[in-house]
Amino acid sequence: MISFIVNDREVHTDMAPSTPLVDFLRVHQRLLGTKIGCREGDCGACTVVIGDFYDQKLTYRTVTSCLMPIANVQGKHVVTIEGINPLTGLNPMQQRFQECGATQCGFCTPGFLMGLTGFILSGQEVTEYNAIASVDGNICRCTGYKSITNAITMIVEDLQKKDAKNPVKWLVKEHYVPEYFGSIEERLKKLPKRSESNEKGMVVGGGTDLYVEEFDDVITSDHIIPVAEREDLRGIKIEGNSLVIGASTRVEEMRHSAEVQKVFPDLERQTRLISSSHIRNMATVAGNIVNGAPIGDLTVTFMAAKAKLIIDNLGKKREVDLKDFYKGYKKADLHEGDIVEAIVVPLPDKNTRFNFEKVSKRTYLDIAVVNSALRLQIENDVIVEASYAVGGVGPIVLFMQKTCDFLVGQKVDNFTFKKANEIAQSEISPRSRAEYKRLLVKTQLFNHFSQACPDALTLEALV
């Protein structure tokens, strides 16, 4: 039995835990404002807001309900467009949308509004940058977005008066959300826990890949192991000289984590290039890694950052270097019963330079064509250690051992770049779009060097 609250109503269901939330909402609850556009988290028409306890605080975030198994909403508050409608008429955000003509065919509209509702409930700073980011997973094919952006600008202005300490109370008072929001925290605490004795079946994290790639298999398997719900695997801490990221930490949590921002200040900007807010709110850090995609953004990042994985098998733990973790296309060094517990990343110091590059067909909300990351230790202008990972140019994310070996002992200059590029080109084996990918590897390497040592290279190195 899975129990949660949908809008103002408690629900208890015996449906298969793998059932996508969108179907539960539309078919079983007849909440039809949540639309189906793609069933792969790429259009945002099915966006809903989820409230749950994180650090003992009720926290709201947006998700795409097509990729979320109902097992992952146990004990949570699910909010659909019907759950924010005033009795009649429009709430202040809806009014701004109407005023600006930000809805044409209307099919994507509830998704955009839920994205923004998640944003205003989330406690994030109210800026236009953040507000736009909250709908970066929503596609509109009619408006060209101008009218939506105009509406968002006005909404951000309206919200400057928001009470940061007690946002929900303020939002209720100003009719952004209905009154029942005030009592949700108490009601959630009283919900029965999930009565699941022997969890077995497919291991599902955030579901953001499995529900796309293996949809039929997931929905026909009655049982799943919802590891994303393992609170003990969630969270980020600094232990000694390492950053320890719990496997079930959501990508978006990592992005905003104070610890991460302290040691990897660029990661906030870089991870914004990974899918969308909605997806990052669901996707777990380990999910992106165990999935084994040859273009995994976090895999590339952490492999270059010299990360290790802590893997548990019924209490037996082992450590694996991420660069040794992949055995072939989508094949990881994992055995029956293995669960990744944490990702351990050595902390950078003042001599560390780290840069991540990604180019895709569309800059945001897209899979990389080529992504790469380079970590250099530079002492007295000389590279003393190098760690370089490239995705999209082979069956797995490649650790560029030969290029790294060459780099140690070199200075960052045009000559080193040219030679390093030559070696890198010999290490990769792109099959499709080969020439383009080789060009990307070269220009990305140029950018890595330029980021590490501004002005050390000149454009002549590229020609």
């Binding site: 099919f107 994507c108 509830p110 064509v369």
Partner: protein, 762 residues
């Protein structure tokens, strides 16, 4: 007539429902008891002979009720339109990967989908053609090739000072309406059926269901409430799914629902036609165009669909917005083993315009001219003759261009781009303009008609039903404005009743940007008839003549003097005194005609003009780019609803930007669509769409053939996207002037990086 002031600022009447998530699309219609669900089994090969289909395992699957193939078609296995060449279910052979072969009907959608995998099919593969030029060589044409000609190009070339030739290509485009195709159909009494479809053309749907079931048309009721986007993709191809569901209803006597998963929608349905082209363009010594020849290879896909009509619009727009005295435009409509390509906003015109822009761009580069200057001196002028013989009248091409130069200080924009490029070695900006001229009317003259059914009810409220389909373009709001203005009543009194074939028969599709013109005018005709009868009655009551009576702001006036007779009482008394307050209005666009034998005629009611300027910025170390700004001057005539019309311009522009940038359809050599999902096909998102879009309305003398003088706006602004394409070319040139110029669209990040480093060693 001008719209009532109180209606001009009306917001889309659907917006409250949309914003509350309460608007009803096909997938939201409450389920009827006993509903069965469909899923389509499609061909896994692009071309071949069907040797065997084995349904036995699928029939044993849980919940499967029945599986329909061509053998179960009750009348004709045919959904072709202009040419009857397309079976509903593949029969004997398959022509493209994704072609429907069978429909599985099961108790749940999940069970229907799971059974698909249990069907096996044996196909003897035949050669797959995906290249339109190869198809043309083999004589694989959908219809005979056509040519529009003006003057004598051969002779004119002899007198030209400069002649440039080359070739290029422009891509197809997935519609990506966020609502996929859907149909929900159920049996009613007497063996009749009702079909709710996400179609732009309920009459087509009705005819398609009739063709496959054999039911007479009057037993098939089709209703369309609204679409979650159409863009042309639902103009004819909705027929197929409605025909399947309709057939399934007749077989099962149960309600049947068929709403497509995105992947299925993408592999089954056609897209915008990719074109390849070869051109030759000749100029006099002052670089005025004297002669232009172009030959297009339209990649049509497996079946005729409406490619012949699209080919026709390419011919009509061969000379785009330019003054060209000698022109010869030829189009070959080529049959390939791809999904049957179909209507998409612009309908063959964007391809024609892109080719001419490409020819001019190449000419400018070859002769070291400014592209913008070359465009400007060749703009269409009053009295020019289009290759199809129509004289260009009320031309505002030059006016739009000059207004753009002044309003946005184009020279300053150009100087800033140049200045920027001198300062930054690895980031380059580019600027380009695009002049637009787009003809309004269906080029098939017979389609230029609309009908509207108007009722005034006893409480003074009004119901209007037309043949038009609301798909986000705001046409229903405009129809309300027309009715409220013609009756001179509060628009709140007017309601749009969903489009239904029992109310409006034989409707033209909602297409060609013509929905508001045709159905708005029909509504006006209907309202005027009712008004005339109401005035006659009021005159009798008030003891005067009806010419002296006026209804204004819901009050009856005599000789401009207000009377005590208000709208409510007038309505009530009319009904009681047996005056009909219902009318079925019909409108057929006058003036237009076209003689296909001579390929000459007055094909368009009027033309829409405009000019766009775009500034882009290319990151030369990544091959990525962003759009700084797009400035537009657009000729709306006198817009009936600027709010809605500006929204159409912005939306069309960004769709046009997508076409020439990120939106890349990829097929492999075997005819398999690789970009078959939203994770592999990328339309503009909120971060890519330009923040700075400015649109200025050019006040012009309106065409009396446009509704209330408000020019059609749906399609034309899509082509402003070309300004972005050529601005990108300019930026790439600024970084690598020695590259070999290629005029291929889309200009993806991939092409951008490759062209930036063209000639460099990796």
């Amino acid at each position: 007539m001008k719209p009532n002031k109180n209606t001009e600022n009306m917001r889309n009447i659907d917006s409250v429902g949309h914003l509350r998530g309460e608007s009803i699309y096909v997938d939201d219609i409450p389920l009827r008891e006993g509903t069965l669900f469909g899923a389509i089994f499609t061909s896994p090969k692009a071309h071949g002979i069907i040797k065997n289909i084995d349904l036995s395992k699928a029939l044993e699957c849980k919940g499967v009720y029945k599986i329909l193939t061509h053998k179960d078609v009750l009348h004709r296995n045919q959904v072709g339109g202009i040419v009857e060449d397309q079976p509903l279910f593949a029969e004997g052979k398959v022509m493209y990967m994704g072609q429907p072969v069978a429909l599985i009907i099961a108790d749940t959608e999940k069970n229907a989908r799971l059974a698909i995998k249990k069907i096996s099919i044996e196909i003897e593969e035949l050669e797959v053609i995906t290249d339109p030029r190869v198809a043309e060589q083999r004589g694989e044409l959908k219809v005979p090739s056509r040519t529009f000609a003006l003057g004598d190009t051969e002779f004119a070339f002899k007198g030209c000072e400069h002649v440039v030739e080359g070739s290029g290509e422009i891509n197809g485009q997935e519609h990506l309406y966020i609502e996929t195709h859907g149909t929900y159909a159920w049996p009613t009494e007497h063996g009749d059926i009702k079909v709710c479809s996400s179609s732009q053309a309920p009459t087509h749907v009705q005819e398609a269901v009739h063709k496959v079931t054999g039911l007479p048309i009057n037993k098939i009721e089709v209703e369309v409430n609204r679409l979650g986007g159409g863009f042309g993709g639902k103009e004819v191809q909705g027929d197929w799914f409605a025909a399947m569901a309709g057939l399934a209803v007749v077989h099962t006597k149960r309600p049947v629902k068929l709403c497509l998963h995105r992947h299925d929608d993408m592999i089954i349905t056609g897209k915008r036609h990719p074109y390849e082209f070869d051109y030759r363009i000749g100029f006099d010594k002052d670089f005025r165009i004297r002669s232009y020849e172009v030959e297009f290879y339209q990649n049509g896909g497996a079946f005729a669909d409406i490619s012949p009509a699209i080919m026709e619009r390419t011919l009509f727009h061969g000379t785009s917005s330019y003054s060209i005295p000698n022109a010869k435009i030829t189009v070959h409509s080529c049959r390939t083993n791809l999904p049957p390509n179909t209507a998409f906003r612009g309908f063959g015109a964007p391809q024609a315009m892109f080719a001419l822009e490409a020819a001019l761009y190449k000419s400018a580069e070859k002769h070291r001219l400014q592209f913008i200057e070359l465009q400007k001196i060749n703009l269409l002028r009053e009295g020019d003759i289009f290759p199809y013989g129509q004289v260009a009248e009320r031309v505002t091409a030059g006016q739009c261009f000059e207004d753009l130069e002044k309003s946005y200080d184009l020279q300053k924009m150009r100087n800033e781009v140049e200045g920027f490029n001198k300062l930054f070695p690895t980031v380059k900006k580019g600027i380009a303009t695009f002049p637009l001229c787009f003809g309004i009317s269906f080029t098939t003259t017979g389609l230029n008609q609309g009908r509207s059914l108007v009722h005034i009810y006893a409480d003074g409220t009004v119901g209007v039903s037309t043949g038009v389909i609301e798909m986000g373009q705001g046409v229903n709001t405009k129809i309300i404005q027309v009715a409220a203005t013609t009756f001179s009543i509060d628009p709140k009194r007017v309601k749009i009743i969903p489009t239904n074939t029992t109310r409006i028969a034989n409707a033209s599709p909602t297409a060609a940007s013509s929905g508001a013109d045709l159905n708005g005018r029909a509504t006006e005709v209907a309202c005027l008839s009712i008004v005339r009868r109401m005035k006659e009655y009021a005159a009798k009551m008030l003891g005067t003549q009806s010419e002296r009576v006026l209804i204004k702001d819901e009050v009856v006036y005599v000789d401009n003097e207000k009377t005590d007779l208000g709208w409510d009482k007038l309505v009530h008394d009319c009904i009681f005194n047996r005056v009909s307050l219902s009318e079925h209005g019909h409108y057929a666009t006058p003036v237009i005609s076209f003689d296909k034998k001579r390929e000459k005629g007055h094909a368009f009611a009027y033309h829409v003009y405009g000019t766009a300027a775009a500034v882009v910025e290319v990151d030369c170390l990544r091959g990525t780019y962003k759009i700084d700004s797009v400035k537009i001057v657009h000729d709306f005539g006198t817009s009936i609803n600027p709010h809605i019309d500006f929204g159409q311009v912005e939306g069309a522009l960004v769709q046009g930007i997508g076409l020439v940038t990120n939106e890349e359809l990829v097929y492999d050599a075997k005819g398999k669509l690789i970009s078959n999902s939203l994770s592999s096909y990328k339309v503009p998102d909120i971060q890519f769409a330009p923040k700075d879009i400015e649109v200025k309305a050019l006040e012009t003398m309106p065409s009396e053939l446009a509704i209330f003088g408000s020019k059609a706006v749906g399609e034309p602004p899509l082509m402003y996207g070309f300004a972005i394409y050529f601005a990108l070319q300019e930026a790439i040139k600024a970084y690598n002037p020695d590259r070999k110029l290629k005029l291929k669209s889309p200009l993806t990040h991939k092409r951008c990086l490759e062209w930036l480093y063209d000639g460099f060693k990796i």
